[in-house]
Structure formats: structure tokens, C-alpha cells
């Protein structure tokens, strides 16, 4: 007899050997009590031995060997073979607490009208370096400020009813090949199609990845550009910019970005005028984003917040640059699309598994 599965946990991995074992270990050590689970790892063409690591923990390992297709595509393949009535999507660099997944399942069982639950990030990182700590506290502050029903599905750990996922069309694997905003987009689509999504600050997950300044800036730029280009900045609800750059509202983002840019430019100007411009720019930017800086100080102390201010302001400037780049790309090129060969295969409709990315 096949086991009756309550929860299928899908972990999409792409070159995740550095964190995958700890992530999977945290999942299998979870306190599930009576909940029957299966663990599915979908390897998106890794070349760092991730499938071998996955085999040590997983019930099923799916290998997508041809070429990297993105997290949305990989998660959809995992969901296709999932047998559970609920499906959890967890990032390769996320560690869950022992009770997190069980409480998410219980929340969905207790509230039939609820279709998806997402956990928020803990403000403490595992990696220990300053950038990882800052990134975690930023995620935590941003997600917590938008928690509640309708809060989104963009975090690194979420559980959704399989029927709701299927009826809403699953992840958008056509436009989100780069793998950054597919969760935000799915959350919005679930809400639009009448499904309730809860982002809860009561359930926390920890980041395992070691972030560097460069990686954080690149991630922020990519998310911001994709937000403007693909999600359609004006069409998204007001809190979406905060989902992407974590803290700011739509009106505050350009303001803080502009002030941060002025402050940065002032730093390159010779003489006392440059110093003055930088000081005034920094001060105004900090005042404009006082709520975030205050939250960082409350969570991690004033000294940490002071250290974070320069990085934070630079990040907002990068975010504005990403948004501008996304707008330009959207107007000049249009929505992101897969390469020509993929589009041709999709048009012909070749039946195969794993399939070519499909438009929604």
C-alpha cells in the first residue's frame, strides 16, 4: 500500500552544496508528530554534487540535467510529482525550526478558507558575518511589516494546498527563469484568484547562506529590475516594492534612493561642500527610512544599526538603479522570455518530461 502523504516538501536546488545538507537535515529533524511527509529535492542542473547530498536525506531526487531552468521551473516539477495534499516550498539555504512545518500544516487544517501560509525570516543569520546578519534583519523587518492575510508568498518557506496551487496555474516558469520573484508573483496570483495567503511573523526560518556585499547588491538589483520589468511596477499592489527591497513603501523608495544617490555623489566631490552634501543626504535618507533603521536598532542594537546605515543607503540606491533598468528594459524589449529554442518547442507543444518551460 502506498503511504497517504499529508505534506510534500519540495526543495529546489541549484549549486547549493554549501547549505543543502543543513537545510535538509532541519527538515527531516522536524517534529511532524502524526503528519506523513515526503521530501522531494529537484536539482536544477547543479555541478557541485548537490544530487548526491540530496540522496542522503530525500525520498525522491529529481535531476534536471539538460540546462538550468530556474527555481520556478524546478519547483513546478517537484509539485508535479508530489503526492501530498499540501506542498511546502523551501529554499536551499533555509533552515526550518523543528515545529515550523507542523504549525503551518495545522494552520491550514484549522482554517479551511486559508490556502497558503508563509513563514518570515528570523533576524539572526547562521553565517555570522555582518552582511549575512544585515540581510537577515532586513528580510525580517520587511516581511514582518507586511505580515498578515494577504501578506504574500515570497519568503523562503511556504506551504500551499496542492489543489490551490494547481488551480492558480503553479509558478510562472516562463517569465521567472532567473529565480527571484516567482514567489511574490505566485502570492499575488493566489490572492487575485480568491485564495487567502497568510504571511505570519509567528513562524520564523533562518538564512544559511553567507552573504557578501556584492551578492546582496546583485540580488537587490536583480529583484528590483525584475519587479519593474516583469511584474509591472504599477500593476503590483503597494507593498510589492517592500517585498522586493524589503523595507520601503512605493513613495519612500524613490525618495530614499535619490537621497542616497546624492549622498554617494557628495562623497566624491572635493572640499567641504562634498562632505556637507553627503552629511545632509545621509541624514535625510535616514530620516526618510527612520522606521527601518529604528527596527534594526531595536532588534540588533544601536551600534549594529549605525554600522548598517551606509550599506542600507547604498542598497536603496542600487534598488532605484534596478527599478530604472527594469523600466527601460520593459519599454525597450518587453517582458522577459525564454530563448528562441525554448519558445519554438513550447509553440510546437512537444510532450516530454521534464517539459520545456511553459507559458501560463
Amino acid at each position: 500500500m502506498l503511504r497517504q502523504i499529508d505534506l510534500s516538501v519540495v526543495v529546489a536546488v541549484a549549486d547549493g552544496a554549501a547549505t543543502l545538507a543543513r537545510s535538509l537535515q532541519s527538515i527531516i529533524e522536524s517534529d511532524f508528530r502524526e503528519i506523513e511527509i515526503e521530501l522531494i529535492v529537484v536539482d536544477d542542473a547543479s555541478d557541485d554534487g548537490s544530487p548526491a547530498i540530496a540522496a542522503r536525506y530525500a525520498d525522491t531526487v529529481v535531476r534536471l540535467t539538460s540546462r538550468r531552468s530556474g527555481r520556478a521551473y524546478a519547483r513546478n516539477r517537484g509539485a508535479e510529482i508530489a503526492r501530498g495534499r499540501l506542498v511546502a516550498f523551501i529554499d536551499q539555504d533555509i533552515a526550518v525550526k523543528p515545529e515550523t512545518l507542523r504549525l503551518m500544516v495545522e494552520a491550514l487544517d484549522k482554517h479551511p478558507g486559508l490556502d497558503a501560509v508563509a513563514a518570515t525570516h528570523d533576524h539572526r543569520a547562521s553565517a555570522g558575518n555582518f552582511m549575512s546578519e544585515y540581510w537577515s534583519v532586513l528580510l525580517s523587518v520587511g516581511e514582518s511589516s507586511h505580515a498578515g492575510v494577504g501578506g504574500g508568498f515570497g519568503s523562503g518557506c511556504g506551504v500551499v494546498r496542492r489543489s490551490s496551487l494547481a488551480s492558480s496555474g503553479m509558478y510562472d516558469e516562463w517569465r521567472f527563469g532567473t529565480g527571484t520573484l516567482e514567489g511574490v508573483e505566485l502570492g499575488q496570483r493566489l490572492l487575485r484568484t480568491g485564495h487567502d495567503v497568510l504571511l505570519t511573523r509567528d513562524l520564523r526560518v533562518a538564512q544559511l547562506r553567507r552573504w557578501t556585499v556584492r551578492a546582496a547588491f546583485r540580488e537587490t538589483f536583480t529583484r528590483s529590475a525584475l519587479l519593474a520589468r516583469s511584474l509591472g511596477y504599477q500593476q503590483t499592489r503597494a507593498s510589492s516594492p517592500a517585498d522586493v527591497v524589503f523595507t520601503l513603501t512605493r513613495p519612500a523608495l524613490p525618495l530614499v534612493g535619490a537621497l542616497s544617490t546624492v549622498a554617494l555623489l557628495g562623497a566624491f566631490m572635493p572640499g567641504r561642500d562634498g562632505v556637507l552634501i553627503t552629511a545632509v543626504g545621509v541624514l535625510l535618507a535616514v530620516i526618510a527610512d527612520a522606521r527601518t533603521v529604528g527596527e534594526i536598532a531595536r532588534l540588533r542594537g544601536a551600534f549594529f544599526a549605525l554600522r548598517a546605515i551606509p550599506v542600507h543607503l547604498c542598497l536603496q540606491a542600487v534598488s532605484v538603479a534596478g527599478l530604472c533598468s527594469g523600466w527601460l528594459m520593459r519599454d525597450a524589449v518587453g517582458d522577459p522570455r525564454p530563448d528562441a529554442a525554448t519558445q519554438a518547442y513550447a509553440e510546437v507543444g512537444v510532450e516530454m518530461w521534464p517539459p520545456v518551460p511553459r507559458p501560463r
Binding site: A55, T60, R63, P354
Partner: protein, 100 residues
């Protein structure tokens, strides 16, 4: 499909064949990874004729067996089963001293 049989565990051949059948293994490649040579290897091979057997040194852990088997599996979708899961620990699995 990979079936992992750690050391000090035994699976009755007919139960293994039945377990694979009900798990839909008729049309898939089956790889059975054992830590040490099972005492009933011949019987296992007779009952699960299409399966490929992978014999790892005695003492190999279940996690290492899984990793080893994964490197030999060729399919896009690899399902990893413990021998005990196939038919319940009370029936299919017996703890014995020196064979898998």
C-alpha cells in the same frame, strides 16, 4: 528506484518483490544497495530479477549507501526507499547479526 538495505537488516525476497510491485516498480529501473553481501543474495536476485545489485562494504551507513546508489542511478527521477518501508518493519525487516 533505489532500495537501501543497511547492515544488520534483511529483507525477505518475496516481500521485496511484492513491495516493489505495489510501489509501481514494474516499469522502472530498480537498484538495490546493500551494506555487505546479503546472505540471501541469490534468492533476492531470483525474486527481483530485473534489479541491479550494488554491494557496498559492510559497515557502510544508510546515508552513504544512498549517496553511492545515487551515483549509479541513471533516471531523471530517483526514488529512494528503505527496505523497511516496503512492507513494514515487522514483516520485511529482520535484524540479524552480520548480513544486510
Amino acid at each position: 528506484m533505489v532500495v537501501v538495505l543497511p547492515e544488520n537488516h534483511a529483507v525477505m525476497p518475496d516481500k521485496l518483490a511484492e513491495g516493489l510491485r505495489v510501489n509501481g516498480a514494474e516499469e522502472v529501473d530498480v537498484l538495490i544497495a546493500c551494506a555487505g553481501q546479503p546472505a540471501n543474495l541469490n534468492a533476492l536476485q531470483r525474486c527481483v530479477g530485473k534489479a541491479q545489485f550494488l554491494l557496498a562494504p559492510a559497515g557502510t551507513s544508510a546515508a552513504d549507501l544512498r549517496e553511492l546508489a545515487m551515483s549509479h542511478a541513471t533516471g531523471d527521477i530517483v526514488t529512494l526507499l528503505s527496505g523497511a518501508v516496503l512492507h513494514g518493519a515487522d514483516v520485511a525487516e529482520r535484524s540479524i547479526a552480520s548480513t544486510c
